[in-house]
Symmetry: C2
Amino acid sequence: MYRSHNCGELNASNINTEVTLAGWVQNSNDKGFINWVNLRDRYGITQLLFDKSRSDEKIFELAKTLGREFVIQVKGTVIEREAKNKNIPTGDIEILVTELNILNAAITPPFTIEDKTDGGEDIRMKYRYLDIRRNPVKNSLLFRHKVAMEVRKYLSDLDFCEVETPYLIKSTPEGARDFVVPSRMNEGQFYALPQSPQTFKQLLMVGGMDKYFQIVKCFRDEDLRADRQPEFTQIDCEMAFVEQEDILNVFEGLTRHLLKEIKGIEVEKFPRITYDYAMKTYGNDKPDIRFGMEFGELNEFAQHKDFPVFNAAELVVGIAVPGAGNYTRKEIDALIDWVKRPQVGASGMVYVKCNEDGTFKSSVDKFYDQEDLTNWAKTTGAKAGDMIFVLSGPANKTRAQLSALRMELATRLGLRNPEVFAPLWVVDFPLLELDEESGRYHAMHHPFTSPKPEDMALLETEPGKVRANAYDMVLNGNEIGGGSIRIHDKATQQLMFKYLGFTEEEAKAQFGFLMDAFQFGAPPHGGLAFGLDRLVAILGGQETIRDFIAFPKNNSGRDVMIDAPAAIDDNQLKELHIKVDLV
Amino acid sequence: MYRSHNCGELNASNINTEVTLAGWVQNSNDKGFINWVNLRDRYGITQLLFDKSRSDEKIFELAKTLGREFVIQVKGTVIEREAKNKNIPTGDIEILVTELNILNAAITPPFTIEDKTDGGEDIRMKYRYLDIRRNPVKNSLLFRHKVAMEVRKYLSDLDFCEVETPYLIKSTPEGARDFVVPSRMNEGQFYALPQSPQTFKQLLMVGGMDKYFQIVKCFRDEDLRADRQPEFTQIDCEMAFVEQEDILNVFEGLTRHLLKEIKGIEVEKFPRITYDYAMKTYGNDKPDIRFGMEFGELNEFAQHKDFPVFNAAELVVGIAVPGAGNYTRKEIDALIDWVKRPQVGASGMVYVKCNEDGTFKSSVDKFYDQEDLTNWAKTTGAKAGDMIFVLSGPANKTRAQLSALRMELATRLGLRNPEVFAPLWVVDFPLLELDEESGRYHAMHHPFTSPKPEDMALLETEPGKVRANAYDMVLNGNEIGGGSIRIHDKATQQLMFKYLGFTEEEAKAQFGFLMDAFQFGAPPHGGLAFGLDRLVAILGGQETIRDFIAFPKNNSGRDVMIDAPAAIDDNQLKELHIKVDLV
């Protein structure tokens, strides 16, 4: 062992102990006759002392050659520090060095290894191994490990069995694009990497393994929006002989356990709201409920006057922004410009100032009197000193626009405190959603989701109204998990594929093995999957997932550190029976 | 919840309790007026009672329609059984059923769901979800989970951090064949699936994450020998600021912990033997030391007479087989035929019977007298009643042949008891091995392995003699783990690539990122990886890994259950910029 202690553990109780430390040179403070060097490892920083009057001359001189990030080993005595540093656990002591070995020299790193570095995102990704030396990244990885361990412990203690499902599976054209893997031994054939272990976990239920989980990498070859990764990690779970209620209880328990163990926070029973309620109240199926600003639908109080914009709208809807009644004209105009940006897409915005004296001043005073505005205030929950913003237009679009504004204002008002956690369930998702381009219905969750039995009859007549036994867990405005009760009989699964536009042959070719399995005694089952990257980031109080992934890829799906993907040998291609086919 | 209890937990203490159970119909025993049905789930079997005199008529009749593997739910009362079954935990009770729901009917399974099934390997793989219902497979998966959890707990408690490394990485022509993944976003370029996270874990060491582990899938596109899988799982580990001794201690501790926690077995400190000693003593670098039969080298006592076969041989070597002195001529001839099979390849075999009276009877009595044979017996450790078998020829080949015979005889003699565990370390592996075909030296472990400093000088002159700081953990004749101290400076790594026949450009193109990283202050580091599939199988007392993998592939790399790999769409190929290129 190159060390007797790590750089984070020595304190006053160790004074006069002989120790051996190893680590990286964080920095030096060379005063000529005295030279302090900060030695860093994963566990902390310890100050080394080289003193012309007390140190061996050779060592004293050698210490002057140490550059940033040199890897060194020192032996020495723990002594009390004169100028104590109360900010670090080792701040009471320093090491009077008696032996110094340079284990590896270092060239100057391309950015500083500090909590606040001078390195931009690109350079930090290229030298990710240096970035990981920085506390924010290192601590994120340690935090992720802690979360994953707690998940495993909690589920194992409930008799869940982690089962590894295969990575080399079969491509299915449904859903997102697959990454594929040419087979050398099976000419002209390809494996696919799993987008999720969905069918395998259902087969495990058919196999009687009634409580399954797996922390598992999944793959989607999508054009990468910000903060998406082509490979990502799920906590994948499934249970047999359960109803939706059982699943909600188990995984609410898991999340409550994590919040308690990891963050020390006790949360109440999670609120449960329906998808419809979420859309009406927050314009969003993953509402952030750390704050209010719930939607007030104003059609009743806004379409009885001569304001043509509102009268022509399917929906008039507003929110009350707490304490924003004193926004200046300039601030309001800026917000109106903000909602008119193409990313939001509103054509305009009406505002109502709720004065401290109980009167109102609106941008539509020409059309609406104080009584109308009083009703708006009541409906949106506005109080004196607040500002009401009102949007109108087609219902779905307008809700989405107002939701965007609600989130933006909450951010500006500091209402999205990352140390506050407000989880909830959104339930009763629609089974199908209409793809406006193709005019076809797609499975909103996936084609294995069970319709609510009481809505089955609507499948033929009003497919868009069929609700599913599907649910999402939402935390602070993010969907952190989602799942459903599955179909477990062949007839219903066949019917579902039919409604989704599969021919019988297509259904059989792609999912025949699953429908076959259902014939041999499939139990009722359901489950869900959490996105671990996102869950860990939110628990860690962050919005971006990248620092919680050791070696992330950039938006072009590249690993810029190892420079992958890359061209491969012609021989390799030949063995795999493929040719590159550039356009 | 579809059940109040599982099928393994009810006993006499539950008598008179109303319960709800759900599971699969194992079998029925219908006596006309009384009908017993065994209900099975993951946890056990509970007997259900349908009694014409006590059951509702409809339920009684419905129960008669139940087939094997029907999924049912029952409500009823726990009552004492008349004919108790002491072999199962629920054997004292049965359920007088008051309500019966068929949750899913089942067609007849293609093989029996019994511990000893009538299904062959192929059919069980095709319907793996049914195979998993059988105790031997189900218990293997539960056992695997338990082992993995213990590994994670042990390492986490020692401050190891599990870090997920990427699956989409870069292809490197060294080592086994890579599986590759065409990139849609980077035309003409390919990711590779990792054969191991080797370079990433080394970069984590450079990044200061000084104790890393990961239970991780790895991929090798090899022609599959029996009991190999294209995707397999490793317990991958790495530590910084350590020497070989530290690594051996930590992972010996892990293995000892597993043997104790999982098997209840305490083992002594692991023996450590050198590679050279292992080869000389067992003809094998992964010796099974549950039994003796150590090699005795006989050149000294066999090349002084006129037996030309031995005199011409590089090595004459024998083993003493305990209690085999009474083998008949027929048995001996069969063994001689066995070693002459092409898989073993000996050209003949000499035997010496050690009679109970202390005399010897050999197949070479013409050449050797009792004094010679006494020396043979001393050297091989033969006792009265044993049989000595002697092979001769080129040293390496002869050792391999005698090793094969040693293992075969141990199996026949019942000396390979799967409930006895004899772990050991084999250390001081050669750094390089000569590829006889190309005449080139290859890295025996991998090109990142550090030569022993004291052997560095031999690299130029006698590369085959250079030893590495490389080690294998061996358990019951299987290599269950292996690793090395790594090179951690750029100059040595460059030199190593040169010796391995890389041009400077090739080394830079493939491993430039690693050598770059070494310049920024790489700590001394090393590690190892266990093969989890094999480890779990051996701990589970099995020699084959397949039942410890939920969804294994066959020897052609196919998943016969889902029928993968398979052809993919032309559109998919086009998007990926590749064409199938059949010969």
